[in-house]
């Protein structure tokens, strides 16, 4: 019987130990992170020895105030009881004071005033906000007092923000060096090209097919349809598409054919309008330019797709050119063009849509080839030199990949860490 009683006591005590409270929070340290914007602070802390009495801890809450103030403000989301680090974004630069408190399983939720009606006036809203702030402050004070009484809070600690003018993480510096390298190589090869040096570009059938397609459209008396993707002007693929459109419109004007441009974004339509107009002027056929051929269809993806399909089925373009960023509508566009027996040339850097274009189009430009089209078509030495520069950097990237793979396989993560972009 004594043995049974002893075992029961041991079991009971072990059960109690699994329901232990959080330990006191020590060594709260606040520092500005590396490459900080000046409004971020990183916090870290440790835990002391856990106690076995008191209520169970649900989580931790972070409190913040200016050193000159007396009232604490609750910031951030509740933290798990075993969290040892977090970060905070402050409203202004300077020195800030922080404190961590524990919230227990029996702590009530933050009280809120009675909900307002939907047509509440501004004064009622202001009164509601003030009452909510008061209730919140009172709740925070209660939590502080209880956590302090149980010894589960941290001492106040301060930290000062520090803004950096340069992100000195190795990955960022490496990227800066890469951009500078591309720019520098562009200058070098531009000088060489201007001195008469021939820069070789391999033949890209898809780009050669553009002029063939325009010629076909002229012979058949049908227009060329150009779709610059469905993304906004700030996307680099749309910018590349506009650059190509300039060359295409000039060639279409020289062949005295018609060009229809179907746009999904209104501002892209405005830029396309200017670009096509310039192309016709440069070709010496300003009177052939028709503004109503540069059309905004819809900013909704499938509405745009339906509208463009309608253009294909009604106006039956002989050549469809898809250059830009596409999503799910790519296959619908390409298949409708296929049914129409148009020659289709597509180019996108969107890897998920490339298989659809490859399956449905006659020529597909993959990824970087899209960015080479304008230089390839213009044959301007300054533009062609940029292709050479990016090719050199590509070779360096491949070399770094191979070296990094070998090193990583041997347990050395130097190159992997060097290329990491963080923050």
């Amino acid at each position: 019987m004594m043995k049974t009683l002893f075992r029961t006591c041991i079991l009971f005590m072990s059960l109690l130990s699994t329901a232990a409270t959080a330990a006191p929070i020590d060594n709260l340290t606040i520092v500005p992170p590396k490459a900080s914007s000046g409004l971020n602070l990183s916090l870290s802390w440790t835990f002391g020895e856990a106690t076995t009495s008191g209520p169970e801890v649900l989580g931790l809450r972070l409190l913040r105030r200016l050193p000159s103030e007396t009232e604490w403000t609750l910031v951030g989301e509740p933290l798990a009881p075993d969290t040892t680090a977090t970060s905070d974004t402050v409203p202004e630069t300077g020195t800030w004071a922080y404190k961590l408190v524990s919230v227990y399983t029996d702590t009530p939720e933050i009280p809120k005033p009675e909900a307002l009606s939907e047509d509440a006036s501004e004064e009622e809203q202001a009164s509601f906000d003030a009452e909510a702030a008061q209730l919140r402050t009172a709740w925070v004070q209660t939590v502080i007092e209880r956590s302090d009484a149980l010894g589960d809070d941290s001492d106040m600690a301060t930290g000062t923000t520090k803004a950096s003018w340069l992100n000195t993480n190795p990955g960022h510096l490496l990227l800066l060096a890469l951009i500078a390298l591309v720019g520098g190589l562009m200058m070098v090869y531009t000088r060489r090209a201007q001195r008469g040096e021939e820069i070789y570009i391999r033949r890209i059938p898809g780009i050669d097919a553009i002029e063939e397609g325009i010629g076909r459209a002229t012979e058949m008396g049908k227009p060329v349809l150009y779709v610059p993707g469905i993304d906004d002007l700030q996307d680099i693929q749309t910018i590349a598409s506009m650059l190509i459109l300039g060359q295409v419109s000039k060639t279409v004007a020289e062949y005295q054919s018609d060009l229809i441009v179907s746009c999904c974004i209104p501002i892209v339509r405005e830029v396309a309008d200017e670009v096509v107009k310039a192309g016709y002027f440069q070709a010496g056929h300003p009177d052939a330019y028709n503004a109503s051929n540069i059309r905004f269809i819809s900013s909704e993806q499938f509405a745009f797709c339906a509208g463009t399909n309608g253009i294909m089925l009604r106006e039956k373009p002989a050549t469809n050119i898809y250059f830009g960023r596409f999503f799910a509508e790519s296959l619908i566009l390409a298949e409708t063009g296929f049914v129409n027996r148009s020659i289709q040339i597509a180019g996108t850097a969107e890897a998920t849509q490339l298989p659809f274009f490859v399956a449905a189009c006659d020529y597909t430009l993959i990824g970087e080839e899209l960015f080479a089209v304008s230089a390839y078509l213009s044959k301007d030495p300054r533009l062609v030199s940029s292709l050479k520069a990016s090719d050199i950097v590509k070779v360096l990237c491949v070399a770094a990949l191979l070296l990094g793979t070998v090193l990583h396989s041997m347990g050395n993560t130097f190159l992997v860490d060097l290329f990491k972009i963080s923050g």
Binding site: G38, A163, R295, A349, A359, G367, E368, S386
Partner: protein
């Protein structure tokens, strides 16, 4: 002058926006956020121009009774109706009970879903044309496609003997060669994008500036 000002603006603002990635200072970020707000305002203004263009292009075709003028008439009516009920609903137009919300839920969403559903049939017809074993590469592509398709459906696992290994093979195809190819495309495209961006910022590319003079 007509080209110099836009080129100068492209150069300065281009450099400033590239700098945002390397300069974390909050005052710099505040400046670049301001530029982005200006861009949003310009884009929003362009919506009005897009609306005008829609009417300018389609209304004459309705008046002339061109091919399929009825669809253009429906489009213009839908444009006007959406504008009217949108303005009438105000800021609460997306709440239940408003006509705008009804049109969105019972007209726009089903139409959108219909277009999306068409993709399944288009994929089937494109695959039927594309997946022909004309040469070694096409045969490899066809085999990989069949393996992945069978492994993704429950019936694949019920195939005796090989059924247990199909998911592992599919995962290897997706995780190794497929991911490697996608990353290669991504890296090449990223370098091409850097070169294109630099060409535009440095003013080497000027065709995007447009202009009506040769």
């Amino acid at each position: 002058m007509k080209r110099t000002v836009p080129l100068l603006a492209s150069f300065i603002i281009g450099l400033v926006m590239v700098g945002e990635f390397f300069i974390p200072h909050h005052q710099y970020r505040a400046m670049t956020n301001e530029f982005l707000e200006w861009g949003l305002i310009l884009s929003a203004g362009a919506f009005l121009l897009g609306l005008v263009n829609l009417v300018q292009v389609n209304l004459p075709k309705v008046q002339r009774r061109d091919t399929d003028w009825q669809y253009k008439a429906i489009m213009l009516v839908a444009l006007v109706v959406t504008l009217v009920i949108g303005f009438a609903g105000g800021t609460a137009r997306q709440q239940p009970g408003y006509s705008y919300k009804w049109f969105f839920d019972y007209v726009f969403v089903p139409l959108n879903a219909t277009m999306f559903a068409l993709l399944a049939f288009y994929i089937a017809s494109a695959a039927f044309r594309a997946f022909r074993a004309r040469n070694l590469e096409a045969t490899v592509l066809l085999s990989a496609a069949i393996l992945v398709m069978i492994a993704r459906v429950p019936i694949g696992e019920s195939i005796p003997v090989v059924g247990d290994y199909l998911p592992q093979l599919m995962n290897w195809i997706m995780d190794v060669p497929n991911t490697a190819a996608r990353r290669a495309i991504f890296i090449g495209a990223a370098l091409g994008a850097i070169a294109t961006g630099l060409r535009v910022i440095l003013g080497l590319e000027r065709s995007h500036l447009g202009g009506g003079e040769s």
